[in-house]
Symmetry: C2
Subunit: 516 residues, 2 copies
């Protein structure tokens, strides 16, 4: 037993002196309640459950936005979307993202995690969804990544190559095909090999570093599959595998299997096994708008697009063999933005001082399972909607979606309809915020009475943090206001060599319409 | 390694030839979502989570009634309440139970699990809540138990010893005190040593058999603490321990700790460790009526008293070292009534043939992790409300509680208000039952359209099972119709020796009023 202990200490010492490899696995619209370890009754995520058993499970991990692009921009910048510009001012409190017609993208002034890592000797690759802008200046290789295999946009349609080009798919800075053409997704049958391709690509990348025997550059792999984003897909061999009898369920099984494969590669290479920090999470809560193909945010309220817990609370697992204690669980409130400061601190780097960060290092949580107090801010677009601090969450504004959208059948809170709370009119509660004890009542079922002593003592603190934050905030320039069909991927770099160039229409910029 | 294997095989051979000890741990109003292993974010049940890791976790385990007395009568008889008489005909579809004024109790004709076990050499003890009637002829020692330490009734009030006697607490067939008097519960502070007393009693009982070195009688321990039933309580040393900051949360922690202590005693005694079958579950879904002290049925809809999944789906763990594969998970739909046939089959006994049973042996599930199709029936009082078969659940009737009760602030579905579904009027859907895919949609959020092919093919099967069941059913005589204040525990046996006899009022039988 003593000799085993000595070996572990020795390995720790080695890994601490090295820059570790880093893998962030970011799911798309996967919900907290989709993981077996988080109680999903079908229990179809054995590899993720094992990853949690070998590492640390986060129960109180948050996104920075209930929608994909802003969430992903926040992760890579360590800053709230309101600071990094991934929001709109076209309408108050609207969620916005980066469809093909978006003009903007990640600002060159923003310093992305891969840029800092590259400056410090890392070799970086993004696989899968990028979503920080698709014009040439916004693509991953312009922002710190050395390799890119995936698409800047979502795979949903409709795209016909006439009024709208099919989504471009890239290897590095060249388009190598388009969705529904070279990159096959059968939307009707929910079949695609894309997750398999992403796994193959990841393993090839990781194995390159294993062969180096750990003596060369460390790597950063940002692995972003999107099979659980509607329209969901899975490869043929996973079709019908889920007890749920849904493509979503099958996609979760395939992604879980993929995570298992990647972990296996890391664990079975001695140069990587104890020297790779892996973090698994999702970009926002599960979208609940499909009646037959939805994920689960249980036990939380509502889903994607909302600032209820179901929109913001994410599944999250940290893994680092030999560094993170197996079977550990943390209730530390943390966010996707914290990965920025955490990964910097692991590399003995500090946050740049020329801008404000919303990122706190989690190293004390990961390596010592200690905890600290900190607020969590729930923004929707440009509107500060809610805040959590300690056990309490206060809603200053609430909204789901507009009556107009709701009446088309899109419901962000199926089965729930709480007056002036899950409402279809943006409702201002700033005078008397709606307060919940988020540990005792994670489902936001039981509003704390404004006349109670508990309310009075909690709300004073929360209001103060809210005021301090909003008073001192300098919003970044919004990059998601303008659209133009001419900026779509009609003829991205690389189109010539595969004969996939299309003629763009004349440029006609217009203010984007954000319905949610 | 080979020698270890040989020992295990040897122990199996021995245990198969012995009648194993049996422990059923039945919680009171604890919800599926209260267990860490089922995803509760606070993760405060490490001992239960470990029990599941060492044994088998059931994800689809059901009660037979969403209320305590009928559920418990069903468990011990292996028969639905509609058969064993634990229902009322005073009003259609009303939940009824055994308060102090109830005249009835378990019929002597019913053959209880402890009676059959006693006939086959078991020594039986019940600790905690009985709830099958409190008049002398209904008490545990008249129905197969050799020892009794607990109370026949719930511990909630109000009781003043003037208009109503305080609840009697028994050792064997004699009252040894009353709640709030000898058996202290501080309702205001939610403090009581009762769970500690129940653990001490359980360990003393188990240790008697450990000392026998396994050569004498096997035991059946029916362990029924009620600390999570409102008003919840916990011993002083657990007060404030829960992240939830609620007495309910503390009570869950104390019960989890108690389960750990009992398991430790079993595991550390060589004569018991591989020869004890333990089953943990709860009597019904968590009661959601308290805003500050409620449990969780996440991810399921509504709670106690209802026939939605939140009322019926239970946390459930089976444990038998050396017999049940560690880390196994089953999705077998099963019920509390199945424990009856299961325990009989473990003892090579078959179900009596003189009556109808709703109990199917789970031995193939427990020992081979196989699965079989079977329906689950959701009754509320005398009304067949819903059925599950395979992936589908059909609601033939839906109801929460009356407007009258709801308007007093009692809400069985906080945060949810779905028209004609979680309604306050008993609603008949028999012509077009409301259908849900219970695996894809465990939260009963997405009703399957009656016009869909999925609906048509599923509903035909479910309607047939419903019809067959209701057409052939012979309801037992209802025992929960009549009340009488004279039958309360004014002067139960034993009251003289502790000077706690009170004068009963004159007998005035009346039809009980069941508000839910």
């Amino acid at each position: 037993m003593n000799s085993l202990l000595l070996i572990l200490v020795f390995l720790n010492a080695v890994s601490a002196s090295q820059r570790p490899n880093i893998i962030i696995m970011l799911m798309d619209d996967m919900g907290f309640g989709d993981l077996g370890i988080n109680g999903e009754p079908s229990r179809e995520t054995p590899h993720l459950d094992r990853m949690a058993e070998e590492g640390m499970l986060f129960t109180d991990f948050y996104t920075a936005s209930p929608l994909c692009s802003p969430s992903r921009a926040a992760l890579l910048t360590g800053r709230l979307p309101i600071r990094n510009g991934f929001y709109t001012t076209n309408a108050l409190g609207r969620n916005s993202y980066t469809p093909q017609e978006i003009v903007g993208g990640i600002s060159d002034w923003e310093m992305l995690l891969p840029e800092i890592l590259a400056q410090n000797g890392y070799y970086n690759k993004i696989i899968g969804k990028w979503h920080l802008g698709h014009q040439p200046q916004y693509l991953p290789l312009k922002h710190g990544f050395h390799e890119y295999f995936g698409s800047p946009n979502c795979h949903f349609g409709p795209y016909d190559n006439v009024t709208r080009p099919n989504i471009a798919f890239f290897r590095n800075d060249l388009m190598i095909g388009r969705y529904f053409e070279e990159i096959d997704i059968n939307k009707k049958r929910h079949i695609s090999n894309l997750t398999e391709m992403y796994v193959t690509e990841a393993i090839e990348f990781i194995n390159r570093f294993a062969k180096n025997n750990g003596t060369e550059k460390p790597f950063f792999l940002y692995w972003n599959p999107d099979a659980t984003h509607a329209p969901t897909y899975r490869s043929q061999r996973f079709a019908g595998k889920s007890i749920k009898q849904s493509s979503y369920g099958d996609a979760v099984i395939e992604l879980d299997y993929a995570v298992g494969k990647i972990l296996h590669v890391v664990k079975s290479n001695p140069s990587l096994a104890n020297n790779t920090f892996i973090f698994f999470t999702s970009d926002n809560g599960a979208a609940l708008v499909s009646k037959t193909d939805a994920g689960s945010n249980a036990p939380f309220l509502c889903g994607k697009q909302t600032t209820f817990e179901g929109g913001f609370r994410e599944p999250a697992i940290a893994w680092w063999q030999g560094r993170i204690q197996a079977k550990s669980i943390t209730h530390q409130p943390a966010t996707v933005m914290d990965l920025f400061a955490t990964i910097l601190e692991i590399n003995n780097l500090t946050l740049p001082r020329d801008r404000e960060y919303d990122s706190l290092s989690l190293t004390s949580v990961l390596f010592n399972n200690s905890a600290f107090e900190r607020p969590v801010f729930y923004y929707r677009g440009n509107l500060f909607m809610a805040i959590r601090y300690g056990h309490f969450k206060a809603h200053f504004y609430t909204w789901t979606n507009s009556w107009k959208q709701f009446n088309t059948g899109i419901d962000f809170c199926p089965g729930v309809n709480i007056s002036e709370f899950t409402s279809h009119i943006l409702t201002n509660h700033t005078l008397n915020p709606k307060l919940f004890h988020i540990s005792r009542d994670p489902s936001e079922k039981y509003e704390i009475k404004a006349s109670s002593q508990e309310y009075k003592s909690a709300i004073a603190k929360l209001k103060q943090i809210y005021k301090d934050h909003t008073r001192t905030l300098n919003p970044g320039k919004p990059v998601l206001n303008w659209c133009d069909r001419a900026v779509m991927h009609w003829s991205p770099p690389g189109c010539e060599s595969i004969n996939k160039c299309l003629n763009p229409p004349q440029s006609k910029p217009y203010l984007c319409d954000w319905p949610h």
